[in-house]
Amino acid sequence: MQSEATDFDAIVIGSGISGGWAAKELTERGLKVLILERGKNIEHGKDYIGEHSRSWNLDYYGLPDRELIASDYPIQGDSYALMASNLQYWNNDRLNPYVQTEGKPFSWKRADVVGGRSLLWGRQTYRWSDADFKANARDNIEIPWPVDYKEIEPWYSYVEEFAGISGQEEGFEHLPDSKFLPPMEYYELEKTIKKRVEKKLDEVKITMGRCAVLTKAHKGRAPCHYCGPCHNGCSTGSYFSSQSSTLPAARATGNLTLLPNQLVSKLIHNEQGDKIVAVNTIDTVSREKRSFSAKLIFLCASTVASTQILLNSASNIHSSGLANGSGALGKYVMDHGMIGHMGMFVDHPNMYFKGSRPNGLYIPRFRNIGQQDDDADFIRGYGYQAHCIRPDWQTSFNQKGFGADLKESLGKPGSFWIWVMAGFFECLPYVNNQITLHKQKTDRFGVPLVVTEFEWGDNERKIAADTAVQAEKIMRAAGSLYHILSKPEQMSVGGAGIHEMGTARMGDDPGKSVLNKYNQAHEVSNMFVTDGSFMTSAACVNPSLTYMAFTARAVDYAVKQLNEGQV
């Protein structure tokens, strides 16, 4: 197989949040960039075919086609973001399977399109602080982060100013403010809850969710029009996605080539084993095998997929996987655990709303801040994402009665509000939570299947239990009439948080980590990994903003190194 197209300066593998950012930053620095994306092409606007569709447009009015879900989307099918109107974005689990270790389930949510999960993400964006970057060192858990907040802070600002983050400045030390566009508006009930809770519980603060959805025009993108389901795609570009934001910026430089339908099977290194000289691909449609080369390689295929590529690139020099001298590759998989609690409120029965707000409230972590709480039998902590719902007929159609009375009753708003508090908690890195390759089974392209193995630990179970204890306090303070708290065993299965990370962690010690502090592989100087796999710990906040910041920073470093002849 001949290597082709060597006039590219950099190859970016994957076009999701990290890949899009890598491409933007590289092209804007004058590099000729090739993006290789396994998924099919989705053009901004034109291909968002489910946008603004209504129930009556959809087959079976949008009720899930159970046969199709069971056969083709058994893994993706339980995602909150999967709808009859956006199936085109999701991985087909029948065509692209993986293997879960029995009794240790891991639900791998994947997109299979240009833009990746940037089209489907929850858009919540929170900075880390030193409470997070220094957590491993303080607790003596695994390895310390090689960076601190001060180093990353300017890069957070940099990516936020481009992406457009709406939110409220609060000055919380452990949840630093971003460069904000105005926050979204509250439901009346949320105002009441915030007032009551902050008065009665000193430690608990409530703020508007910080999200990558525009509240005013920003860099040629329109503010949110509050239509509701972002996950169908947004032709006004009101939420950050590769399509709405980074890919157009990269294209505008004239330096971008994007190839969809290109599955990267393997990275090939030079004789010394310290540089990648070729990226092998398989065309997912024609099955044609090709090979591309460039000076820099940015691996941004998403945590599990990037790990699969590195493991499959094992060679005589890198016998247990590329850049895996430490043995850390594939291990320490983390996700955020989720657990929901709900309360019923009879306040404001005669208040209603207009528009569909794609965002909720956020209750920042208040456990184990600064020091270990006396009453906490766990380390680290969690935040709550909270949502306000006015129930409708969908939760009460199973009534008795017939005729005009039933009809009128179905049309009325429920007599109460529901407020859901979803705890998102930190997961510790465990060596046995891992991604490996199947020894016999391969996919339809001949690439070994991913095998997942994941279990929550004792600390996660204790945190999950604490989310219920604290939720009860908060619900009471908020004035809930009646609340239903989940038990720890009802927490999400691994992977379902869709924040999988940690399998190629960064660290100062090449004996214990895959990447250095600039996301550069310790052992392969022209390879940078900037998707979730670089994460050394998980914190409890949504991670995408952190991937953006580290990606931009890694490109800045890589290009400087390249120009100095160091790569």
Binding site: L87, Q88, V99, N350, P413
Partner: protein, 215 residues
Amino acid sequence: MNRRELLQCAALLTAGSGIVPNTWALNSEQRTFLASRGSYLDRVELTFFTSDQRAIVAAMSELIIPRTDTPGAIDAGAPQFIEAMVAGWFNDEERKHFMQGLASLEARANGYLSLDAKQQLQLLEELEEEASDADWYRMGNTMRIWDSAAPFICQFKELTILGFMLSETGSRQFLQPNPMGAFDGSLSMETNQRVYSVQSPMRSVSLPISTAEDL
């Protein structure tokens, strides 16, 4: 999207992407926005029920959601939706269960359509009374995709409500779509405030978690 359309869509989306994919695009015929496809009822072919069964289903659904000062089940095409669901969405067992329920109603009435409206309603009320302890009526038994074990009368009511509330007529002439443009969370309710119509049914999210055994 059914499987056939999904496959077509996937085929279109993966077709013909070459080395310079920025020039590649679906042509306007190929790229059909779901929102511009009109109503599902206008494109689904209905051949499952007999004309008698159709008439019974229509009469029953109209008793559940009658025309008042707003359209009723028949106006909204709920009977057609029910037929489409029974024919295409149900699995074999569910279909059998439903058709048995319909047949037994017909037998019990000794000709349902020969009854007057009052008698027809009375029979439905009797069925509901007999089913009154069914799990279907339990609070919270709504956040699932389908209750396959529910008595016929419950399933029929559920299909009618879905077929009415999710239809274009029900969504626009009984309910109103939530207006887009801005968000206002402090709006006083109107007299006789109705809920907004649904964009995509909430139940589409709840599916059992898959595990290794499924693979």
